[in-house]
């Protein structure tokens, strides 16, 4: 097996190119009342539809409304070995950005499942050195009604 150090970024990009377009099931995400409130609190929202179930219902929602961008929390796996900020292959990984299509409102109590599809792989020179740029699209589907509620394109930078 060839180690990461022996492969160039271009070789990695060529290898990962074969995964473009291949969808893989991802995570199950729980949208809980506690999760909604914590997300809203962290961002300093004042709108009570994120905190108070009665206030949310008064606006016609079935439960707390999920703040923009909050698509639940993954169920923690105690056997997961991922180290924050580090990828399995490269010494450093950065989040390069995201685009989110909000298709339907999400509420506390929803359980979402994701499907992730790599959509491009590239290499470019940056001030941090050669950088591998991977863009993927994740589709978020609500389990209770099968509705796609959001699609997000994420850019991951490895170097």
């Amino acid at each position: 097996m060839t180690s990461a150090a022996e492969k160039t970024m271009e070789e990695w990009a060529d290898e990962l190119q074969s995964t473009v377009g291949e969808s893989t099931p991802g995570q199950t995400l729980e949208v809980t009342t506690t999760g909604v409130r914590m997300f809203a609190r962290a961002l300093g929202y004042k709108d009570r539809v994120f905190y108070d179930v009665e206030a949310a219902k008064a606006k016609g929602y079935p439960n707390l409304l999920s703040p923009p961008g909050y698509l639940g929390t993954a169920i923690f796996d105690p056997d997961a070995t991922e180290v924050p900020g580090r990828g399995p292959t490269f010494p450093r990984r950065l989040n390069g950005g995201m685009e989110l299509d909000t298709i339907a409102p999400v509420f506390a109590g929803d359980i979402l499942t994701t499907v992730r599809t790599p959509i491009s792989v590239g290499v470019r020179q940056s001030k941090l050195g050669m950088m591998l740029i991977r863009v993927s699209e994740t589709t978020f589907t609500r389990q209770s009604d099968g509705k796609v509620v959001a699609k997000r394109r994420d850019t991951a930078l490895s170097y």
Binding site: L43, N95, T102
Partner: protein, 141 residues
Amino acid sequence: MAEQVYWDDIQVGHRISILEQMDSQRLVVWAAASGDFYQIHYDDGFARRNNLPDVLVHGVYKGMMVGKLLHGWVGDQGRIVTWGNSYRGMNGVNDELTVWGQVTRKYEQDGQHLVDLDVGVHGRDQKEGSPGTATVALPAR
């Protein structure tokens, strides 16, 4: 919530913004909310050993702040259709963030009254580090 904004009343060039004073507590609450426990966002020694000038505000946090700006602006009758940001710049833990949007286009499509915006987040140094775009649907009069 602020008074409802209507599509008819918005012109290209219209600018919206909020100011957000950051501190370590906000970053720790965000770490818990997001599950991002990378130490560069709360451990000063770790950040400096990784050649960073300070503990840094999470890129995603800045992106989600744009969601907060848009949510507050579109009101109960409006809707965020899409938004996105690149995470390019660094902001230290005690920076004051300006989260902004500026209308670049207004149009009707599929029965919706839509507005496109440029969006971004910058600190006190005024350098735009999270450029992006957004589309929202607003109610018409």
